[in-house]
């Protein structure tokens, strides 16, 4: 189909479904923690502004969570349907990690989600807050297990190969494999940043339309604090992650840098800012270089050396033409995030409400709304394409992992996924953005939008103003069981 082999179609299918999927959990991770913070503020201060923001973001969270669940279900089965040899080979390690993710995270999220979404008037404020915290905790536990699994595939250890399959011998070594701490921190912080950018863009959108209610200002301000404080942390984590990759997956770094040949001793490695890596010609064409900067960034010295692509046989080289650019997109977006945070801090410092009024700043914040998600995608493209041709690094090649389906069958399911995902997640995105457009400061019970009237989540219709009042009793009088 389209001249692609079954292997290529399987890879495109995995890339497509996982790229869609990662967007939703990233926002889920960030929003769940944000909601926990908002509810904590509401319980502490009894300021209705926090309660209104909680319910505003809760509705967006609900739509997003649903999309994360259904797109994630596909992932849980795709390992077996499309990558059966991988599953049979490495299931002894990735299986238990996935099972722990389900047991400790998915059930926790799902079990408390109902109360979080629909239980505002059914349980007391403390229990409701507890449910929110459990959901937020579940998202973080989930990230931990799945990144342990992914990191093990990138930097495997703690196993033996017995009878042609992976056997775990040291689970602590498997889980705390060399790239795991960096990848986990980098991803969780990325999820927080992506959410902060989304929240910030929503606030900026309302501010640009003259809706500068205290609730809008509050969420905008919170998002910018987050960006200001966390973007530099993320850059530092990213730097460390890069050094870790250099140690364990040097071919990936060489491909990211478009670095083909080792330089003369003592000359240092230049940083190629831009260029066109060419896998056939084995060079990076039209390079725009800064001498020695590559050495400085990657070895923290002026004449340090890093492995070059030509150190590796051609069949072991990742596709530099892609990861060179996906990496630069991620870094460029990160620098723009830093700029947004600093610009906001400067406007805030100058005072007089400039942060809420500067139109150029607000427009920039709106445009940066999807930047965090794009950076996450670019980063995952870099790390996943950069570890090719291996599915389990150094142990199993991707071409040996794929199920023996025909290209026609793979092409059919790929086309099906593409059509369904664009329809379903396109509609979901529209609904999320429509929810963003509603007024965060307005009592949701007054919402007159069509379809709202019977919204089961409609959590505020009878919400009391004081969270400390007992709300659990009244709502249960209609129970009959």
């Amino acid at each position: 189909m389209f001249g692609l082999t079954a292997l290529e179609l399987a890879r495109v299918q995995f890339g497509f479904t996982i790229s869609f999927h990662i967007i939703f959990p990233a926002i889920t991770i960030g929003l769940a923690s944000y909601l926990a913070v908002l509810e904590a503020c509401w319980l502490r201060t009894a300021n209705p502004l926090y309660r209104d923001l909680y319910h505003y973001w809760l509705k967006i969270f609900a739509v997003n969570f649903g999309m994360g669940v259904v797109s994630g279900l596909v992932m849980a089965y795709q390992f077996g349907t499309n990558w059966s040899y991988f599953s049979a080979y490495a299931g002894g390690i990735t299986g238990p990690l996935l099972a722990y993710e389900v047991l400790t995270a998915f059930f926790l999220e799902a079990g408390f989600l109902g109360v979080m979404l629909f239980g505002w008037n059914r349980v007391g404020p403390g229990l409701h807050f507890f449910s929110t915290v459990m959901v937020a905790l579940g998202t973080l536990i989930s990230a931990t297990w799945i990144l342990a699994s992914n990191s093990w595939m990138q930097t495997p250890q703690g196993h033996q190969i017995i009878d042609g399959r992976v056997v775990p011998v040291d689970w602590l070594a498997v889980i705390f494999n060399p790239s795991f701490p960096y990848r986990l921190m980098h991803m969780v912080v990325a999820a927080y940043l992506a959410t902060a950018l989304f929240v910030g863009a929503s606030g900026a959108w309302h501010l640009l339309r003259g809706n500068g209610t205290p609730a809008v200002r509050k969420m905008f301000s919170m998002a910018l604090w987050m960006l200001l404080l966390v973007t530099p942390v993320q850059i530092a984590i990213g730097d460390q992650h890069g050094l870790n990759t250099l140690e364990h997956q040097p071919a990936k770094i060489a491909a990211i840098e478009g670095h083909w040949e080792r330089p003369e001793p003592g000359a240092g490695v230049p940083l190629i800012l831009f260029g066109l890596p060419d896998m056939e010609r084995e060079e990076t064409r039209f390079p725009l270089e800064i001498p020695r900067l590559g050495s400085l960034i990657l070895t923290h010295s002026l004449d340090g050396e890093i492995p070059a692509l030509k150190d590796f046989p051609p069949r072991d080289r990742p596709n530099s033409a892609i990861v060179f650019w996906s990496f630069r997109i991620m870094v460029g977006l990160g620098l723009l995030m830093l700029l947004l945070g600093l610009w906001g801090a400067w406007l805030r410092w100058r005072g007089g409400g400039r942060m809420y009024e500067s139109r150029s700043f607000l427009k920039f914040a709106v445009w940066m709304g999807p930047a965090g998600l794009l950076a996450i995608l670019a980063g995952w493209f870099t790390t996943e394409i950069g570890r090719q041709p291996w599915v389990v690094y150094g142990l199993m090649r991707t071409e040996d992992a794929v199920s023996p389906h025909g290209a026609l069958q793979m092409g059919f399911t790929l086309a099906l996924f593409v059509v369904v995902y664009f329809i379903v997640f396109g509609a979901g995105t529209v609904y999320m953005l429509r929810q963003v457009r509603t007024d965060p400061g307005r009592h949701p019970a007054e919402a007159d939008e069509p379809g709202q009237a019977h919204r089961p989540a409609r959590p505020l219709s009878a919400a009391p103003d004081d969270p400390r009042a007992d709300t659990a009793g009244g709502a249960q009088t209609d129970s009959r069981s």
Partner: protein
């Protein structure tokens, strides 16, 4: 990790338990989607959906546990079963996507567009159920293996038997859904659900009878298992219990009982599930590969088992709490408040 316990056996029990939880719990969720066409009124549909809105996600998670548990404990079976049933599983997943998002989208859509998500909910529920049933039927029939991997054709799963089990499962989930709604609704909606529950009960009974005759006729290894001693003795109570459960269900659906029909529907589904288990045990890739042949290394089984045994009771506890919070009847217009 040789501690003298049969790890594959324990894991098989856990996975069987997880799948049973899934069938029962997502069964009534999916059943509600299957019953939607019989209730065209917006208000009825809102109530029906609201009875499961807070719990459906947890219910579906048992399916993820089934997949993850299979990968963890029996990677060879996970690889073979999912490859063999590639298309029905993908179609089931697509159905579950439409069904799952409809819960939120239906309430977010404009009045003009809502009917589309109602159709997505119906279509998604029916498609997901049908292909679960097809997969089940094809699984009973068996998987062609060679050197530890699936060695059949892309459409091996498509047989008259598997199509029939697909239809049978639609009836079973409709029964679970209608009896669940008898328990969770009242007045006119409940009355109509009582009628639908009776019809679904007869359909399930018919499906069980046909499958019970068809299975041994076309699957000699299962016939041998059923009709030899002492298996026959073990097996003999099952048909009697099925008949008793059906009789009780039809009675309960006619009386004032609110939860009786649901409990008996659970019993009926449980009996069908047990019959299936007896027919296949201890094979995990029918007709030959046993749970011991397909098991992961003991290091994998032991590590995951510790978590499963410690955590599943906790999951059951907070799941029960969530059901407790949302107990009672759901009424039109009031949603959850």
């Amino acid at each position: 990790m040789d501690v003298g316990i049969d790890l594959p056996l324990l894991w098989a029990v856990i996975i069987l338990f997880g799948i049973m939880m899934y069938v029962v719990m997502d069964g009534f969720d999916l059943g509600i989607g299957i019953l939607f066409p019989f209730l065209p009124e917006r208000g009825d549909r809102d109530v029906m959906m609201n009875t499961v809105a807070p719990v459906w996600d947890g219910n579906e998670t048992w399916l993820v546990l089934g997949g993850a548990g299979l990968l963890a404990a029996f990677p060879m079976a996970y690889a073979a079963v999912l490859s063999a049933f590639y298309l029905p599983i993908v179609l089931m997943l697509i159905g579950l996507i439409f069904r799952g998002v409809a819960f939120e989208f239906r309430f977010k859509a404009s009045d003009r567009r809502r009917h589309l998500w109602d159709k997505a909910f119906i279509g998604g529920s029916v498609v997901a159920t049908f292909f679960q049933g097809v997969t089940l039927g094809a699984y009973i029939t068996g998987i062609r293996m060679s050197e530890g991997a699936f060695a059949g054709e892309a459409f091996d799963w498509l047989t008259p038997f598997s199509i029939f089990t697909g239809l049978g499962l639609i009836a079973a989930y409709a029964l679970l859904g209608s009896t669940w709604l008898v328990m969770k609704t009242e007045a006119d909606l409940q009355r109509r659900m009582r009628g639908l529950a009776r019809a679904a009960a007869w359909a399930v009974f018919a499906a069980i009878v046909v499958i019970s005759i068809w299975t041994p006729l076309t699957h000699p290894q299962i016939a041998q298992r059923w009709f030899t001693l002492p298996n026959l003795l073990w097996f003999s109570p099952v048909p009697v219990l099925v008949a008793a459960a059906l009789y009780g269900l039809l009675r309960a659906a006619r009386t004032e009982s609110h939860s009786g029909p649901f409990v008996l529907a659970l019993a009926l589904v449980f009996l069908g599930y047990t019959g299936l288990g007896i027919s296949l045990w201890p094979n995990i890739i029918p007709p030959q590969v046993s749970i011991w042949d397909a098991a992961a290394p003991p290091q994998s089984l032991g590590f995951a088992l510790v978590g499963a045994l410690l955590i599943i009771p906790v999951i059951l506890a907070y799941t029960a709490w969530s059901y407790h919070v949302f107990r009672g009847k759901v009424r039109a217009g009031e949603g959850y408040h």
